[in-house]
């Protein structure tokens, strides 16, 4: 009996902890919302963060996108050719990438590559009192440090997702058309015919903007609230990757259900 109660108590503690975490993050998001527009009074700060988070993630995104496209082309060809439908390879690859894989995989890679870096950087600035120093110089760290990094991630994710999809479609072309001999005209033609600009491309873009917001918020929040110790920083960076990956996957399901569900 007492063991059961203990388990129950632990479950309760876990849930209260989770709710408190979510509440703290919501309050933080409100604070952040106040500085989102003023952050643009220093556009160079934002540009710098787009470079650090976005441009420096290009290699991993492009390479990963290429490989995913190659695999999709190969697997798609195998399945479609059993139905004599290998001309549809292009649209299959493109739809998979634009609707799902582009936004999701790019976001997951971004969380690992750049989200963790944002968290670690902010946490170290906090640990070494650089954020406190800013405050005491009458410079709001929210506006100067957090805001630009949030924007940097928010802007980078959709652009990276688009590039991921683009490279993926080229990878599918390479394996399908160049190697396996699918007709090039039907590869591109079917994409043009069957892909809806608004529903498919727009839906994918909407997804990746939402994922960008989730990762950006989690990354800056975890850094800003990290415990100023070595293990605190380690926990914060781990937390960023874990929470934003789960957040992206969960949100993807919800958004997919709404957009492509019925």
């Amino acid at each position: 009996m007492s063991r059961l109660l203990e388990a129950l108590a632990r479950l309760g503690r876990l849930m209260i902890g989770g709710v408190r975490h979510a509440g703290a993050m919501a309050l933080f998001a409100l604070d952040l919302a106040w500085v989102l527009i003023p952050t643009w009074s220093r556009p160079r700060d934002v540009a710098q963060q787009v470079y650090a988070a976005g441009v420096l993630s290009l290699v991993i995104i492009l390479v990963a996108g290429g490989f995913v496209g190659l695999v999709l082309g190969l697997q798609g060809y195998n399945i479609l050719s059993t139905f004599n439908a290998s001309e549809s390879l292009g649209v299959m690859v493109a739809l998979s990438l634009v609707r799902e894989l582009g936004p999701v995989v790019a976001a997951l890679l971004f969380a690992g590559r750049a989200g963790s870096a944002i968290t670690a950087e902010i946490a170290l600035m906090k640990t070494t009192e650089q954020l406190a120093a800013l405050e005491m110089m009458a410079v709001d760290p929210m506006r100067r440090v957090i805001g630009p990094r949030f924007w940097g991630a928010l802007i980078s994710v959709p652009l990276l997702a688009a590039l991921f999809s683009l490279v993926g479609v080229l990878g599918g072309y390479l394996i399908g058309v160049v190697v396996l001999g699918v007709d090039a005209a039907s590869y591109w033609g079917q994409i043009g015919e069957q892909m809806a600009a608004w529903e498919d491309v727009g839906g994918g873009a909407l997804k990746s903007v939402a994922f960008g917001a989730v990762i950006a918020l989690i990354a800056v929040y975890e850094g800003y609230t990290a415990e100023p110790t070595a293990s605190g920083m380690a926990r914060a960076t781990t937390q960023t990757v874990v929470l934003s990956s789960l957040g992206v996957l969960g949100l993807d399901f919800v958004m997919t259900a709404f957009m492509f569900g019925a």
Partner: protein, 270 residues
């Protein structure tokens, strides 16, 4: 002029300040002394408005920091310079850029003028030649002086020093001591030096405040504080650096044998 009245502050269960009164006068260097963990850094954060007291008042030049709105607070902070314990230099900026940072943030001066001011400030702390170095390339003492130059960039009226002597070799300690004194006298500042280095503090300050256990246990000129030792055993222990005394008595509240889980007290605790 900084004034703290009937100040209470606690962190969780622990009471840091219990109805404390203090004054810091313009033109004077006031040292706040006390054992580690008595909330000396918290005191600076209270003066800077980064944390708010539970009750009581913190007043800086007539402005109530403890209740000031953000705009007011930020205006006040532009008149304060803070030397953080480890310098808190921005690690991805050079020394010169660090010193220029507050100038760029709060003034519309052109680059040529900013460059000159930076050179003046660095010259004052003897680091003119290090202006293109990054903080990681500096020694501890140099980093502290660079941070001092940055804190002085906007010509503050109030300087707050958080443990400026901790971890310094004797020479750089001497340099810092002289700098703190000279800056204060040349510019007529209100200087607050928080430290646990008794001799250094007594040697440069005009007034000394000793805190321990959440209250003030001695204050006045260095000579007055030395004279108060007979009235306050904790003060005497702190000034002498004695191992035994009221300051570390709290640890023996629970006998060692209890913590070890022994049934009989073998008497090792005495």
């Amino acid at each position: 002029m900084i004034e703290l009245a009937r100040l209470r502050f606690s962190r969780g269960e622990q009471v840091i300040f219990d109805e404390v009164d203090m004054r810091f006068e313009r033109g004077e260097v006031t040292a706040v002394l006390g054992p580690s963990g008595t909330g000396k850094t918290t005191l600076l954060r209270l003066i800077g408005g980064q944390v708010r007291p539970k009750s009581g008042v913190v007043r800086v030049d007539g402005t109530e920091v403890s209740r000031a709105r953000r705009k007011r607070l930020y205006a006040l902070r532009r008149r304060m310079g803070v030397l953080f314990q480890n310098g808190a230099l921005f690690t991805d900026l050079t020394v010169g850029e660090n010193v220029a940072f507050p100038l760029r943030a709060h003034s519309a001066l052109d680059e040529a003028l900013i460059r000159r001011i930076v050179l003046f400030k660095l010259e004052a702390v003897g680091l003119r030649s290090a202006r293109d170095k990054y903080p990681a390339e500096l020694s501890g003492g140099m980093a502290r002086r660079a941070a001092l130059a940055r804190a002085m960039a906007l010509d503050p009226e109030i300087m707050l020093y958080d443990e400026p002597f901790a971890g310094q070799d004797p020479v750089s300690m001497g340099v810092l001591l002289r700098l703190i004194r000279r800056l204060n006298d040349a510019l007529g500042l209100t200087s607050v030096v928080v430290t646990h280095d008794v001799n250094e503090a007594l040697s440069i300050s005009d007034r000394v405040i000793v805190i321990a256990g959440g209250r003030v246990i001695g204050q006045g000129t260095p000579d007055e504080v030395r004279a108060q030792r007979h009235r306050e055993p904790a003060l005497a222990q702190f000034l002498d650096g004695a191992a035994d005394g009221p300051l570390n008595a709290t640890d023996s509240a629970v006998p060692l044998s209890t913590d070890l889980g022994l049934r009989f007290d073998p008497g090792v605790d005495r």
